[in-house]
């Protein structure tokens, strides 16, 4: 993600140096964004870190409590927040581990097939991309009925009567299926563009050497689009760490809190009914944020250095 900032110096230097006073026009152009950015991004981030060291309830004064919130959720085994936090974080990780590979492999397969340009490939592409433009709440309502025990097409097609949303491991399966159906569009388009960019010469040379399709895929295709795979792995992981809507509306976090993810707890503690426990919720959010940063950093270093 290197940004070539230095390489595009405009050549207006000479003209500018004639004016003595500072030119305020650029500042006029960037200030609207900087104000919104400062007020709604920069300040909240700093404020949020501060809140996590307080026993704030969203309305009253924030009392500084040092590391107490972190100690409680990380180590204090008798606290209900400890159980909640560990369960929520564990489930969030389970979801990331289950869904990210699917959200990479499925669109990669689709993109490879689309790249062969068979009949109707444009139409197929449109169909696969479409769900990513729908809201998660609408998507989950549709899929809740898809998974309906008696009336749903899934069970009727399989000839089974599985309780998809209220028994494990089906609850996780259902959540992952919905997620894959919903969000592969973007990655698919990225891979398509990447695959189109690979020179045909490589494949022709490999064909002369008698390479099989599978060999070609692993020896030519994958290495050629490694940059895009790295990029999609990182952004997909970040996106999936923020899972919220699917378990909230599909399984309600059940059965027995086994799909209850951390963002549900954060939302509930800070904004749910009853007294707000924004301090604890902020500490949870901060650790979740830290996990996201660490995992994406590891992925970045790991995938970049594997030659």
């Amino acid at each position: 993600m290197e940004v070539p900032v230095k390489s595009m110096e405009p050549k207006m230097k000479i003209e500018r140096s004639k004016r003595k006073s500072v030119n305020w026009t650029p500042w006029f152009f960037i200030t609207p964004h900087l104000v919104i950015f400062g007020l709604f991004f920069l300040v909240p981030i700093l404020f949020g870190i501060y809140i996590s060291f307080t026993s704030w309830d969203l309305v009253g004064k924030a009392n500084f409590v040092g590391l107490a919130n972190y100690k409680e959720i990380l180590f204090q085994k008798d606290s209900s927040f400890y159980t909640q936090f560990h369960n929520g974080l564990k489930n969030t990780f389970i979801f990331v581990i289950l869904s990210v590979p699917c959200c990479i492999v499925v669109p990669l397969l689709l993109a490879s097939a689309l790249n062969a340009k068979p009949r109707f490939h444009k139409l197929f592409q449109s169909i696969f991309y479409m769900p990513s433009l729908f809201s998660i709440s609408a998507v989950v309502i549709i899929w809740t009925l898809m998974f309906n025990v008696n009336q749903g097409p899934v069970n009727n097609l399989l000839g089974k009567s599985i309780l998809w949303t209220s028994t494990q491991p089906y609850a996780w399966a259902a959540i992952v299926i919905v997620t894959v159906w919903w969000c592969i569009g973007g990655n698919m388009i990225i891979y398509q563009a990447a695959l189109n960019g690979i020179s045909k010469d490589y494949y022709e040379a490999a064909e002369i050497d008698g390479a099989s399709s599978i060999q070609k895929f692993f020896k030519i295709t994958l290495p050629s689009i490694r940059g895009q795979i790295l990029y999609t792995v990182v952004i997909t992981t970040i996106a999936q760490f923020n899972i919220y809507g699917q378990p909230l509306m599909l399984t309600g976090g059940g059965p027995i809190d086994s799909t209850r993810v951390l963002l549900m707890d954060i939302q509930q503690n800070a904004f749910g009914s009853g007294q707000s426990i924004a301090g604890i919720a902020s500490a949870m959010a901060f650790i979740l944020g830290l996990c996201i940063m660490i995992v994406s950093l590891i992925q970045f270093l790991f995938l970049r250095n594997r030659d």
Partner: protein, 280 residues
């Protein structure tokens, strides 16, 4: 050439895609069809693809005189918020993209790199304090809460800047010789040339705003004020026993982005490769 059209890999690819496309389209078609069934039929008649009796009562009862889940109200709230948000983003982003991409000023690179670095920060950390700030501004349960904060994003500025950097600077210089100022260059030359990327930014801002789920469900607790995306959660809870009614609500929520996709598909499909190309 002719034989290539029917080659074996192409056939395999076609069959695979056909199977997947069927899987992908079933939920949408079945969902749409089910929203025209009566609840009685859905619950008691066993699994049927098509309704025995097509009814629109699910829609009419949701849209007309409905006070506990005012779907029509939510729809227009969403529409207003998404349009206003998109306009705000377009203004803010094209201004900033122009300055970072085509103007020279002290601190430009430092500020821009700083903005880029902040993209690494996970947004989940600022959820709670953002609520407090919005609350102190008196914006809870107002459109402002859903329109303004989202415009703080940096990624769109990055996209627009990259695009504007690639417009030859000679164009500006020629205009400058003719006596044009920064504003004229921006409005008359750079902005019109940047239409493709601004279109992409607009489409994604609109759909992003329309589909935003967590944030609106926090800042709107007044039922009248909710957006349709967050309202659907309430609707799901309210009509647990009437799934076809829920389905009608979901279909209504999908329609605007669906229509947008029908007309602007090209932009949506190009856009991702555009942003990925820059990243990759």
């Amino acid at each position: 050439m002719k034989s290539k059209l029917l080659s074996f890999p192409k056939l395999v690819a076609f069959l695979f895609l056909l199977l997947m496309a069927v899987i992908w389209i079933i939920p949408l078609i079945w969902g749409a069809v089910t929203s025209f069934k009566t609840d009685m039929e859905f619950q008691t008649m066993g699994f049927k693809l098509l309704p025995v009796q097509w009814v629109t009562t699910n829609y009419t009862s949701l849209l007309v005189d409905n006070y506990s889940t005012p779907l029509l109200h939510w729809f227009f709230n969403s529409l207003f918020i998404s349009v206003a948000h998109t306009l705000l983003v377009l203004i803010v982003v094209s201004f900033a993209g122009f300055a970072y991409g085509r103007m020279r000023f002290k601190g430009r690179n430092a500020i821009f790199l700083f903005l880029m670095a902040t993209m690494m920060f996970p947004g989940v950390v600022n959820l709670i304090p953002l609520y407090k700030i919005v609350d102190s501004l008196g914006w809870v349960n107002t459109y402002w809460a859903a329109v303004v904060p989202g415009a703080a994003g940096v990624f769109n500025i990055f996209l627009v800047r990259q695009f504007m950097v690639n417009i030859p600077l000679e164009v500006d210089e020629a205009a400058r010789i003719d006596g044009a100022g920064d504003f004229q260059i921006f409005f008359r030359i750079v902005l019109p040339l940047s239409r493709p990327i601004l279109m992409v930014v607009a489409l994604f801002s609109f759909t992003g705003s329309w589909n935003d789920f967590l944030w609106p469900s926090i800042v709107f607790n007044d039922i009248e004020r909710m957006t349709i995306t967050s309202g659907l959660q309430l609707l799901q809870g309210m009509y647990t026993g009437e799934p076809t009614l829920q389905m009608a609500g979901a279909i209504v929520a999908i329609i605007p982005t669906f229509i947008l996709y029908l007309f602007a598909q090209k932009y949506f499909l190009q856009s991702m490769s555009l942003s990925a190309g820059i990243k990759g």
